[in-house]
């Protein structure tokens, strides 16, 4: 029996575990997860817009895993790649032959001075606070800013701008609200080929935007956000995407770069320097593509296939081609879909009802399809 230990019970870790359980009789599979609850993170934004209840976005990880996968609810403290062991907070340790690190990203709002004056929607708690603030909002300037790159789900901040437009239109106060989007890059949207489309959508909706705005600090008292570039923008309500880093244990294990991300081969998903024994997938890698559930989903299939090959004594041959797919809600029952990989940038997508429905559908079918590796 080969011992496969998977750190993280999110979308990536769960898919690797379930695929291996299905294909590799000779693998002894353990998933370690801090909470034992699996979150559907793309739903958090809808909590802020009062279209989803937070409790609907969590399920017991145990119920999503195949029976022969062991679930350990504990916090990873450190990985020792020499001893091939994972140390847990409870004092236990797990030995492995193959290790998959799918520990995700953590939020670090405290890195932006004055962040107390800002909202975000990257956790259910923060989304609920934003929901309250939006319910009480009667007019003024809503500013959306990005606290650091990379962050999870690159389209989400632009999506929130569109959903704000939709929310205030429905409430009949759109004319009393200015929506101002601050992009850290020289364009409004991170994906270059899609940026003109998003800019057009912003123009149509009357969403203002400023480029090259990298947040330096927030003055919560005066309600002004300041940039590294020397600009200052006043706000009545500020949505600030918090800075992100890789999970703490990876840093504590000496596996990360300066930003807290794990240097990972973009094709094999092996952790550099630990080829053949350690893989990393999802938000925690340093691969320069979208940090998104779909990325983790496609990466998980590659890693599961390659570990299954090693377990049966074959050579691993699967390679990740950088495939990502996502739906974005542009409000007013319109959406866009994007598909891309390392060699094919996304083509500018048309805004349509079809892709909005695609998003609605995946939000509903996620639990049946994705973690159980049926999609």
């Amino acid at each position: 029996m080969k011992r496969v230990v998977i750190l993280g019970g999110g979308v990536g870790g769960t898919i690797v575990a379930n695929l291996l359980a299905k294909t590799s009789k000779d693998a002894d599979i353990t998933v370690v997860d801090k909470t034992g609850k699996h979150a559907y993170q793309p739903g958090f934004i809808y909590v802020a817009f009062d279209r989803q209840r937070p409790e609907k976005l969590f399920r017991d990880e145990r119920n999503l895993l195949r029976r022969r996968v062991r679930l350990v609810v504990d916090e990873v403290v450190q990985v020792n790649t020499r001893a091939k062991a994972v140390y847990l907070k409870s004092g236990r340790f797990l030995a492995y032959d193959y290790l998959v690190i799918a520990g995700g990203a953590r939020l670090a709002p405290e890195e932006v001075p004055g962040h107390e004056g800002a909202h975000h929607f990257y956790s259910p708690e923060a989304a609920l606070r934003l929901r309250e603030a939006l319910a009480a909002f009667r007019g003024g300037r809503v500013v959306i800013a990005i606290g650091g790159i990379p962050y999870k789900c690159p389209p989400a901040p632009a999506e929130s701008a569109c959903l704000l437009d939709y929310l205030f239109s429905r409430r009949g106060i759109r004319d009393k609200v200015q929506i101002h989007y601050l992009s850290p890059l020289g364009r409004v949207f991170p994906l270059e080929t899609v940026s003109p489309t998003v800019q057009r959508i912003f123009d149509q909706k009357g969403i203002q935007y400023t480029t090259f705005f990298n947040v330096e600090r927030v003055d919560a008292e005066k309600k002004v956000v300041h940039s590294l570039e020397g600009e200052s923008i006043p706000y009545d309500l500020l949505i600030l995407i918090p800075p992100h880093h890789g999970a703490k244990f990876a840093q504590a294990s000496g596996l990360t770069d300066a930003g807290g991300w794990i240097p990972t081969d973009k094709f094999t998903l092996e952790v550099k320097g630990h080829e053949g024994t350690v893989w990393a997938i999802g938000d925690i890698t340093d691969i320069p593509i979208s940090k998104a559930g779909a990325t983790a989903h496609y990466e998980a299939k590659v890693v599961a296939e390659n570990i299954a090959a090693l377990v049966r004594g074959a050579l691993p041959a699967a390679r990740y081609d950088g495939k990502v797919m996502c739906f974005c809600d542009a409000g007013h029952h319109r959406g866009i879909a994007m598909r891309f990989d390392y060699t094919h940038p996304p083509v500018p997508p048309p805004l349509s009802l079809k892709w909005y429905l695609g998003k609605v559908l995946i939000n509903r079918l996620y639990w049946q399809l994705v973690p159980k590796a049926r999609a």
């Binding site: 090259f212 020397g230 320069p288």
Partner: protein, 80 residues
């Protein structure tokens, strides 16, 4: 004349793609003192337009852009 420039911090962003090199430069600008010169190495051709635009917007000084085999070198002086 360029040889006289004292580089206070060199940032090697070769192999990373947009927005990697810009983010690496931002990190260095945050760390360094006013007057310091930062050298940024980037193999991403997008940097050729993005970096000068950002330097102009942020009111720093682009001292030179040198083209090397497979990468470009941007010398940026932090002005404020």
């Amino acid at each position: 004349m360029m040889e006289e420039v004292q580089v206070a911090k060199a940032v090697d962003a070769r192999g990373s793609f947009c927005p990697g090199p810009l983010m690496a430069l931002l990190g260095a600008v945050r760390q360094q003192s006013v007057g310091d010169v930062i050298a940024l190495y980037s193999s991403d051709t997008g940097s050729r337009t993005e970096i000068p635009l950002w330097v102009q917007k942020a009111k720093h000084e682009l001292i030179a852009v040198r083209h090397h085999e497979g990468y470009d070198e941007f010398l940026v002086r932090k002005m404020r």
